[in-house]
Assembly symmetry: C2
Homo-oligomer: 194 residues x 2
């Protein structure tokens, strides 16, 4: 298996679980929180701060970015630059799975990337974020909409591409209708070709 | 295999070939031009006319539609109504493959539909429409853009949904990176579950 599999996913669709299951099945590493930790280490910021800057174009995020162009590297800009390098460094080391982080965009010039988009119905995701993620503080649908809005804004701001456009991916799969296991099987079988 | 597989596709991406190969593999019928022929038979219009009305919201198409709401059924409206019934009738008879015709939308309330979107790079499609479809009269890229624009406009007008949005499909597959055979295998393996 010689592919770098990037998984872009809707919040609550099971993309992270798919990433881990794929990595286990294909005997490679799955990078998600590891990237954040590595970025934090290199940037000197805390893991929590790096995580909060990674999906936020609201408030200080986007303005910090814009300001950075005039006043020198803002925190967001610095974190992005480091994360960009961390991801490209990971990819250069060989086959792996990378979840989120606009990795599909960052690795645009690598020729062995399998770009996957994972999505699901609101109903499936609402249930999942409560049962699997323990998100019980606020109404699940509101939580979904909030995260969807942020993730979409961040992805579109970073990549200039439309979030959820099928044409940006080799495979786009609906976990609520196909099931997580079937999605893992599909991606693994494609990854194992060539 | 108990599914109705609907294939929405970009022009030149090989969706029709996939539909036929799938039908052969799953031992069911593939409906595409058959629907047009059936619609023509029932409407009294020629096959060519029905075909031209099926992807055209420009000129008489959309205005005919709007006019039909005030002045009684226009040709476009009539053809749509008949095609709608033809497709639902086909689907009610059992498992099959249906290519195009907004079938994913028409069968929205059927619970055994597998909704597939097939797309490919411009480069792949340009090559295909010349080599496979024999489209040599005009510049391939212009031909692609013209068909893309029409197909998108028609789909969005009919369904109110965004053409190419991954969330409207269980599976969205890129034939230029995965290959047509792999796409057939993926869809068939999913269709054969349950």
């Amino acid at each position: 298996m010689n592919k770098i599999i990037t998984i872009s996913r809707e919040f609550g669709s099971g993309g992270r679980s798919i990433g881990q299951a794929l990595a286990d099945k294909l005997n490679v590493k799955c990078y998600d929180s590891l990237i954040i930790a590595e970025t934090a280490k290199e940037s000197g910021f805390t893991v929590d701060y790096v995580e909060s800057q990674s999906e936020d174009t609201q408030g200080s995020g986007i303005f910090g970015w814009l300001a950075g162009n005039y006043y020198g590297d803002s925190n967001t800009h610095q974190i992005w630059n480091i994360q960009y390098d961390v991801i490209r460094d990971i990819a250069s080391k060989g086959p792996c799975v990378i979840v989120g982080r606009c990795a599909d965009y960052i690795l645009h010039d690598f020729d062995n990337v399998l770009r996957v988009f994972i999505h699901a119905s609101d109903e499936f995701r609402e249930k999942r974020i409560v049962e699997e993620y323990g998100e019980t503080d606020e109404d699940p649908l509101s939580r979904l909409k909030e995260k969807d809005k942020k993730r979409k804004a961040y992805y579109e701001f970073i990549t200039g591409e439309e979030w959820g456009n099928a044409k940006n991916f080799d495979l786009a799969l609906d976990t609520s209708t196909l099931g997580i296991d079937t999605c893992v099987d599909i991606i693994a079988s494609v990854a194992n070709k060539d």
